[in-house]
């Protein structure tokens, strides 16, 4: 498994060394399809459903979910991206990267927003995302879809759709990318 530079995701810098592949690309595609079905089931269709991918890791997951939803239901839901860097409570401990753009052009009033992220860990990103969403309008409801739930929550937040529940140690690192999900550690 390839080593990867980790510049912009916690713990910032260092090289990620994977020691186990948790999901292959096919496993991930199946998980995405299942979550897509669950989203349609839970919302009785896709009316007023908007997918918002969280920068940076959640964006490609949101794209895959949107494609799966389009295949199943025939209509592709509106999608957007959201960078929560400026809404975080640990601002100063995280980088703000110009490439992570927020792109929400639709009005969110009355919509059902599905936040999509790659890994759910402490829940602080989601807390920040909920705050950030408030600056775009008042959604009817907000749901959360994540590819991996690795536990260790620090806030009362839970996901609605989970690709894979993955118990981890706190010092481990979960890496979600196009080819699958890896568990490993970062060497500084």
């Amino acid at each position: 498994m390839a080593k990867r530079e980790r510049g912009q995701t916690p713990p910032f810098g260092g090289v990620f060394i994977a020691y186990a592949r948790i999901l292959s690309a096919e496993d991930m595609a199946r998980a995405v399809r299942r979550m897509a079905h669950e989203i349609i089931e839970r919302n009785h269709g896709l009316n007023d459903v908007v997918l918002i991918g969280l920068q940076t890791g959640g964006v490609f997951v949101a794209q895959q979910l949107a494609e799966a939803l389009a295949e199943i239901d025939g209509q592709r839901p509106a999608t957007g991206t959201l960078d929560v860097a400026l809404h975080r409570d640990d601002i100063g401990l995280r980088p703000v990267v110009p490439e992570a753009v927020t792109d929400i052009t639709m009005n969110l009033d009355g919509k059902t927003v599905v936040l999509v992220d790659d890994v759910l860990f402490t829940g602080r990103t989601i807390r920040a995302a909920l705050d950030a969403l408030g600056t775009f309008g008042r959604p009817k409801g907000v749901q959360l879809a994540v590819m991996v739930d690795r536990g260790h929550r620090e806030l009362p937040i839970r996901p609605d759709y989970v690709g894979k529940n993955l118990p981890t140690r706190r010092d481990e690192v979960v890496d979600v990318h196009q080819q699958g999900v890896d568990l490993g550690a970062v060497e500084k």
Binding site: G7, Q8, F12, G13, G14, D83, A85, L86, H87, I91, G92, L93, R94, P95, V96, V97, P98, A100, V101, T102, D103, I104, N107, D131, A132, G134, T135, F136, G137, K188
Partner: protein, 321 residues
Amino acid sequence: MSNALVDGNLLGIEGMTATEIEEILDLTDIFAEISQRPIPKVPALRGRTIATLFFENSTRTRLSFDTAARRLSADTMTFGAGSSSLSKGESLRDTVEVIEAYGADALIVRHPMAGTAQRIANWTDAVVINAGDGCHEHPTQALLDAYTLRQHCGSLNGLRIALVGDIDHSRVARSNVLAFTALGAKVTLVAPATLLPSSLAGWPVEVSHDLNAVLEQTDVCYLLRLQHERISEGLIPSVREYVNDFGMNEKRANLLPSEAIICHPGPTNRGVEIDAAVAADPRAVILDQVANGVSVRMAVLFLLLGAGRDLIESPTAEGNK
């Protein structure tokens, strides 16, 4: 991180490299997006206090710094020279110390004397941002102009820019020449000899006294404000003569290439450096400059006061503030 910002202040464009300027402009995109939101506010600078100290009048700079600070959720404090204890003989240093004692994290300073911002920076631990000091520099104006040009023309590299008007007394001209040329633009100063600095040694610019000849080879025509005192100082014979030679009217605007743009830092003297009809021309991007002023100043405040400082470029850096 940027040299010009590493000591925690923004005092001038002088000393900044193209990369440093571009970093700020890249970051500005993020803040421009925030201004588009239905609720344009993020909590990035919550709990920080930003004081504006203006010893000179201003509409744009002051309001846009104020707006920028509020959009980042900072608290703002306002000091106006007219209504303060200055009239009772309070010294500049006392004023600064008092404002610092109220807990200001940043001081945004405009003063008619060149070098005031630098002087204040020597006295205080707070972040100092120069919002115009005499005829010296006005760095945030240059940054917002560079951002506006980048927005309209893609890149400043190779862009032909004519700066027209009172170059000698203009801090905007000074900061803009430094920023534009650092980013690779070709700058031509167009002015009567009396309104040019006595020496242009070290300035990588061309000089012309003939606006009509320059316009045909210009992508950006940047007009500077003509202050009325220049007439009483005898630097120009009369406003009419200045308008005749250097005023932007419809006829001159038609000499510009069709995709050229016209800029002005404001406030405009309608009928002097720019005709009302030209100011309303879609090629005049004066209001874009104003709107971009807020975004650029948000980026600057965030870099100097927020997480930005250590993290924009090197995410691994430990906080060293």
